[in-house]
Symmetry: C2
Subunit: 291 residues, 2 copies
């Protein structure tokens, strides 16, 4: 609820641009962080249709926006509207966050880095030397594959029914010049993996994907760490398996929070209050589930 | 201060566009009103330089803005960027508020109507049949002159050192087709006026105008109602005279509040909480004066 005496004329703003955007959890993540640190920033969600994206981005630049989060369906189309890209965004041809540097808009792609941060910092996993199975061949999986290779995992197996896309990811991830062994995955690679990641939307509610797991339960066991990028529902069928077999696991709130943390710190120059942001977004998700 | 759990993804936004904009009292007026009625709207101030105005306005339209307040130096230049104008804005070639109707941006000019509302509703003055002296020949005075004629004052005298501009206003105000007698004012018209309005920036702090009155004290008396459009300081030299001679009076907060009320009601479709908005803006002005 509007508190009446805020925003003021001095409040900076940042926003999400998506279509739709209203249901996003990003306002909860960013505004809880701004509030906790006492930063005079407001984060809004803007629903922008594809035909209006160019005007919207040009407008945000002219209005002095402090930062932009980008979600579906604009992650690729926004590229031509920006002043520059990070190497990561350029390599992945995808942008999920925009920084403002000296008035210029610079696009970055941080999905993969955020997932690696989630595993490393929130779950204390040292990825070096690990065998990782990644299911999925979409934009998020591409980003994750590159970051896993940069994190020096020992072996990365790519699993996806779309073999052409899987081969593309295999090629992309192999470009890193690290010692990671990248393979097109078979079922056996999942069984022998120490970390299994769902990088698809299987299990997500609202798209006819709910109740499905990207991996057969028989391939999973309690010695693995299971990671899902989906956060709605909080417990997908894949993570239900994890619970049933006693495997440690993390849901998509972890990556989502780390995406926000990376943006928050770049935009504001302040250390993001990670625990507070995760607490706020978890409470919001639970509120939505129960309502 | 950001309350942490707001704005949400569903929050609508409106904003001021000016250069500068940060010092404006409009965020206080609008956000206090939204808060009091429990409306999920946020009002922001955007500093936009003239060379970026076109991108900013196109962007606000694409972003789905709920309404725009317009201040210096954009009141004239914004006209070519809008989809339409009200008769008032067209006649005055000036826009201080933008409505969004079926996705189109419509500019209006409400300074004069706001001043008339202030006199009528806040001070119970029936303008019909009154003799009014108006000092000033700028955009605000133009708007006021037209609204006074529409309010059927008996006589309107225009006072300004710029005689060409005064003649223009005289012409403009005479177009209304009402029975109002519009004259180029002499000192005697001020003495015999029942209402004297300062429509200039004389008396305003920060522009080298502070401490000056647009009217000699000797022309004023306790039987008149004195009205100033300036609100910083709250008591200009002109209103100091009013206090000293015991004349009832109103400062620029009155018109400013009524400008916000007109915009608020058009944007939201709700009756604006005038008393709450005035209380909030008065408190904010007093806070600034004392700090």
């Amino acid at each position: 609820m509007n508190p009446g005496n805020w925003p003021t004329g001095y409040t900076k703003f940042a926003c999400l641009v998506g279509d739709p955007a209203a249901h996003s959890l990003s306002p909860t993540l960013f505004n809880s962080g701004f509030s906790f640190l006492g930063l005079d920033w407001a984060y809004l969600a803007m629903s922008v249709s594809p035909d209006r994206l160019a005007a919207a981005i040009g407008g945000l630049k002219a209005l002095g926006v402090g930062g932009i989060s980008v979600t579906m369906p604009h992650k690729k189309e926004i590229i031509g509207l920006l002043d520059g890209l990070t190497p990561s965004a350029a390599m992945l041809s995808s942008v999920n966050v925009v920084y403002v540097e000296a008035g210029e808009l610079i696009g970055d792609s941080t999905d993969g880095r955020a997932l690696v941060d989630n595993l490393s910092f929130d779950h204390g996993i040292d990825l070096r030397g690990k065998r990782v199975a990644l299911v999925g061949t979409g934009a998020v999986a591409r980003s994750i594959s590159v970051s896993l290779v940069q994190a020096d995992v020992e072996k990365l197996s790519i699993h996806g029914r779309n073999r052409a896309a899987a081969k593309e990811i295999h090629l992309l991830a192999s470009l890193g010049g690290s010692s990671t062994q990248v393979v097109l995955g078979e079922a056996a690679d999942i069984e022998t993996a120490e970390i299994v990641i769902n990088g698809t939307s299987l299990g997500m509610s609202g798209r006819g994907h709910e109740g499905y797991s990207p991996v057969d339960k028989g391939l999973l066991h309690g010695g693995q760490f299971l990671c899902d990028v989906v956060y709605h529902p909080l417990e997908t069928r894949f993570l239900q398996y994890a619970r049933e077999i006693g495997a440690p696991h993390t849901n998509g709130v972890g990556m989502l929070t780390r995406i926000a943390v990376l943006a928050f710190e770049r935009w504001t120059g302040e250390k993001a209050p990670v625990q507070e942001m995760r607490r706020a977004v978890t409470a919001e998700v639970e509120k939505r589930v129960s309502s």
